[in-house]
Amino acid sequence: MSKDVILDVRNLKVDIPVSAGMLHPVRGISFSVARGETLCIVGESGCGKSLTSLALMGLLPKTATRTADKLDFLGQDIRDLKERQMAALRGVNMAMIFQEPMTSLNPAYTIGNQLIEVYRRHIDPGKAEARERAIFLLEKVGISAAASRLSQYPHQLSGGLRQRVMIAMALMCGPDVIIADEPTTALDVTIQAQILHLLADLQKEFQMGMILITHDLGIVARVADKVQVMYAGSTVEEGPCQAVFDSPLHPYTSGLLRCIPVPGKTQRGSRLGSVPGIVPNLVGDLHGCMFRNRCDHAEAACEALAGDATQLSDGHAFTCRMTPDEAAQAARQTAREVA
């Protein structure tokens, strides 16, 4: 690979024992993120996207087990790292931004205190230097009067400002990759656009890799370089953003895209497409395509489908029994039915 790959993941699996048997929430995910690149993992609730991010950070619940063929971060295998080493990595090289900023900021400390503490714990500079960096980053994330903000407490800030502080905190140690799990879901649309704009700017400026986890296809389309569509714990389609949105091949991807009303495109009051049915239970021995109970194009062959993706030339790949031509035609057919 010619690009400067930061994170390379092959066949990541997460298993959690539950009372009914073994739950397989993540079942063989592979991806890589390069410097300055944004990977969006998109999927509906229960598809395993959040557990994937926790698995990367080594923050899985104690009962869960993580296996992978490859889990390289900055060229180093992090599969068997001790918790202490992992914690150091998390603080400095990997940063995470969560959905709800209020729960990730400690209400008992000022934001200056928290920003400086993060930096000093991992990097150990002088206090003045840490303070300077905190102010620099608060200004970077668009907070005015940064110096005076340092003495404020999280509850004194609005939701949008808190998320900005979270971003500044994630950037304190100059991470190589940022993992953002639904960073704007709790925010208003106007603030959401601002935060995404800011994230994209900062990422280009500091040349970080970014993994953005979301359920919102609108966000994905606007910020992603690469897209990974997850369903029931595995990837059903991946590829460059433009290719996936222009010609979705997996029936799930095209189905999802038909579900959202688009101002100017879908006609007012017309029926929207839908993906009826519910996500299957992921407990026990699983085989075949997990989407087959909700798919219009399901056949007996789907029950025996191996998890191998069909690769197209431009890095676009999807996991389905259909050939690319069949799949493209099926997607067009769904589009016609809806219209």
Binding site: G21, G284, N293, E303
Partner: protein, 308 residues
């Protein structure tokens, strides 16, 4: 297992029901919760013995707890190495009453006090707490004032004063404890009702034109019931211990009624020569309170465990 159930092709009626019913889940959780099971078994055993005490007496399994036999004072219980009386398995007390039957009838008194107190204080506290939590504002202020007033009064001293004023009897003890132990009910019910009041299903019921009493009784109450039972068990154990303490000090149940607290007091003088006089009622008290607490704790885990 789930795999076999995954059908091919979409079903047009949309979704199917996946989850087992709440009742079968509850059953599952009950049988996995050992502290709940152990507590429940001990509690049921004590309950059965206490309720059936007159039957046991009629059958001749136990004796009259009041029958004195001064010739057989301080008989040793069955595990003692020497001089065991086969008529009195757990021995006799200082006036020769059968200790086993006194313990059995003592369980009756303890449970009676526990239940009655719990019902009186539970009713007072729940009414106050739920009203305050649902209506808020001024009502809440008034109830809070009443709660604070109650918390400022020492239960034990007031109970002793009441006994002095009204004379000591079982019913005075129950009434005093019942009128004083409602504070925790009120506090817990108030905060839970406040949370429930803001939930959308309460709003939906209001938007349907349901009256406040209907909403409180039919919509909110079933949802606070599990917390209520947990508080109830804690308070019941508390009441039983308080009764024992009052009786031990002579301010509670009066002789010759067989109360465990009273038995502890009577056995005090013989502590070094006949330690079982203290050990037996003490153990009973300990077992009963432990069982109630295990049961209550387990009940909370069993009923409050919510799905994601």
């Amino acid at each position: 297992m789930a795999e076999a159930a995954l059908p091919l092709r979409r079903q047009q009626t949309a979704e199917e029901i996946l989850e087992p019913s709440p009742l079968s889940k509850l059953r599952k959780r009950i049988f996995k919760n050992y502290s709940f099971l152990i507590g429940a078994i001990i509690l049921i055993l004590i309950l059965v013995v206490a309720v059936l005490a007159p039957v046991f007496e009629a059958l001749g399994l136990i004796q009259d707890p009041y029958a004195q036999d001064l010739a057989k004072r301080l008989q040793n219980p069955f595990w003692h190495e020497k001089k065991v009386d086969p008529d009195h398995v757990f021995g006799t007390d200082k006036v020769g009453r059968d200790y086993l039957s006194r313990l059995v009838y003592g369980a009756q008194i303890s449970l009676l006090i526990g239940f009655s107190t719990m019902i009186i204080s539970g009713s007072i506290g729940t009414v106050l707490g739920v009203t305050a939590g649902y209506f808020g504002g001024r009502v809440d202020m008034v109830v809070n004032f009443i709660i604070n007033t109650r918390l400022a009064m020492p239960v034990f001293l007031v109970a002793m004063a009441a006994v002095v004023a009204f004379g000591a009897s079982l019913w005075v003890v129950i009434l005093v404890l019942g009128l004083f132990l409602w504070d925790r009910f009120a506090v817990v019910m108030r905060s839970i009702t406040m949370q429930a009041r803001d939930l959308d299903y309460v709003k939906a019921a209001r938007a349907l034109g349901c009256s406040p009493p209907y909403i409180i009784v039919r919509e909110i109450f079933p949802n606070v019931l599990s917390s209520l039972t947990v508080v109830a068990t804690v308070e019941m154990a508390n009441a039983i211990l308080l009764e024992a303490a009052l009786s031990f000090l002579g301010f509670g149940v009066q002789a010759p009624t067989p109360s465990w607290g009273l038995m502890l007091n009577e056995g005090r003088e013989y502590m070094f020569f006949s330690p079982w006089l203290l050990a037996l009622p003490g153990t009973c008290l300990f077992l009963l309170v432990l069982a109630i607490n295990l049961f209550g704790d387990g009940l909370r885990d069993v009923t409050l465990e919510r799905e994601r």
